[in-house]
Symmetry: C2
Subunit: 351 residues, 2 copies
């Protein structure tokens, strides 16, 4: 896995996973270019790349404006494609925005990329959300695709762009379908970023953690360093045996237990609440990834226990408090509907 | 199956299947509104609705401009949603156009529909193209989704919009994944509409039929009347047992044999040709639908044999020659690249 002097592109490199990946790539000696539009709501934070600010080329562009940086594409040797909107809630509030960010911009990007750099390796950040409500656990890559929100539909479309163009020989792409990822550089001051972002934020602010109903739903959170390792392996592999891989965490546990671990380490309480109907209708129930395909093909495993990952995360955010926990100004997730008003989702309760 | 006085909407009702369906609905006494943008390349023909011209309300709008006909949506009782672009070739030449027509416009349409008429029955015209290269035959609804072109990706996204919104209780949709459909009112004077359109056009013009390589690839063409019957059944069912159904033809046979049946009935010859690389790269190989789920749940079966369906089609086109076979002007499929120039697809040969 030699990234020394490799010309690497990271789309969405100011975001949570993208920035952790870009920093690691710089440490490994790669020549890193980051594309990021810093679109509100998508998790970009200018502070995320501070440790490598002078060693990364940052292009403040939308990934879909690929004509503007065609020269960068022409020269890149590996593409890590993480640009996107991850919020399921946002996608239901503004479906066309999600289509634009997660599908249309990706289509434009890949059409320029295939022309400028045919056959290039692309590692795409997919999501477990494409599976929808699991029909069985753990969920393997053969599980039916039945997303429960627009985000899942559009992320699947984008993953199919990658795979379809790879079948044509136009790209050499691999899709990593990620479970809940957590760790340093998440967007904590922004709502709608998922349960672990919410838990970490509230724990750091000394607030109690809210678990819906009895917290029985299972998740398998994975620490960001383990995910970064998976991206690095997928980007460097001489050849790919498969093009779709699930990436899950080392342990699966009920959300109640997840909350308890965070609460105990941060010294806050856990309380239970009724499930808000607009969230329940797009909830996927319990999820646990079967990552054995990636483990076998790449010799990877998730190494950081949940307890250890949360301990590291809390320590990191306490050290970088001023850049990640804005307690004074109202938080803004990127949805105009969220600004200064109570959130309303255009959802009908599930029947 | 009582459509008398039912207020029914047919999107894409100037197209091939949509117009046959609209005519049948009028015969059954329904109150039919057709939405059709007549966008070049999508198969609309103003002559398609001639038999019922004075008994159908035609709105010449894009399906995505749903705000403009929100009042129609508010009152409709069943929606047959057939608006779209079917050409795989077009989708590879102009991917963003396909995204706009097959995904973005559908998203806008459904978001207005769910607001104006929550819970309404929608029958969506899906496609076998979402499955990609079959991993087994016959292909059932559990077959993995691995489309080989943008058209398949976007049609799957649109089908997931329908299913996801149905899971939320916002719509009551059913997706029919259609195999090759043929019969009266196909767009014969337009290239890129599929093998049966090409065969019928050439046969009617007295030209020889071209089969690629040895013509071993299997297809299961279905006559349009049988497909119309399936739509009517799905639109009228009191409740749906499943939301995705394959619709295939009564017989599966090699393309060589398909060509021979057409050629024999029309009195032309069949010749073999090498597979054009830009077509081979997005070809799905052999396909044959397993329609048993729809057969069992709806008591449907494809009744018109291929021989009989082709005989009826040839007779119909000979009777309506002037409206469907324009031999003088150059044909135009809707792609500017096709006009007066040799076609070029932005494809890399499959590896």
């Amino acid at each position: 896995m030699d990234y020394r002097n490799k010309r690497v592109l990271v789309t969405g490199g100011l975001g949570f996973i993208g920035s952790n990946l870009a920093i690691r790539l710089v440490e490994l000696g790669a020549n890193v270019t980051v594309i990021d539009s810093s679109r509100p709501g998508c998790g970009a934070n200018p502070h995320n790349l501070e440790p490598v600010a002078d060693r990364v080329r940052l292009l403040p562009l939308d990934v879909g404006e690929a004509q503007q940086y065609a020269d960068v594409l022409r020269e890149c040797q590996v593409v890590f494609n993480l640009a996107g909107e991850v919020s399921h809630i946002h996608s239901m509030m503004a479906p066309e925005r999600d289509l634009e960010i997660n599908a249309a911009a990706q289509l434009r990007f890949l059409e320029v990329l295939r022309r400028e750099r045919p056959g290039v390796r692309v590692v795409y950040a997919g999501t477990r959300q494409v599976y929808g409500v699991p029909q069985y656990l753990p969920v393997d890559e053969q599980h039916p695709v039945e997303p429960v929100d627009y985000n899942g539909v559009h992320k699947f479309a984008a993953s199919q762009y990658h795979l379809m163009l790879s079948r044509l020989g136009a790209l050499d792409a691999v899709v990593l379908r990620l479970t809940n990822v957590y760790g340093p550089r998440m967007a904590l001051s922004v709502p709608c970023q998922g349960v672990l972002s919410t838990f970490l934020r509230r724990a750091l602010l000394g607030q109690e953690l809210e678990v819906y109903e009895d917290g029985e739903l299972i998740r398998d959170p994975v620490y960001v360093d383990d995910v970064v390792e998976a991206f690095l392996l997928a980007g460097a592999a001489a050849s790919l045996r498969r093009r779709t891989y699930n990436i899950g965490g080392p342990e699966a546990m009920p959300l109640r237990q997840i909350a308890q671990v965070v609460a105990q380490l941060a010294g806050v309480r856990v309380v239970t609440k009724p499930f808000p109907p607009e969230r329940k209708s797009i909830d996927i129930g319990s999820y646990r990834a079967d990552s054995s395909r990636f483990q076998h093909h790449f010799g990877w495993r998730a190494r950081v226990s949940f307890q250890d990952g949360i301990r590291r995360s809390l320590a990191w955010y306490r050290e970088h408090w001023d850049r990640y926990l804005d307690t004074r100004r109202p938080t803004f997730c990127g949805m105009p509907e969220h600004q200064g008003r109570k959130r309303r989702l255009a959802l009908v309760p599930a029947s």
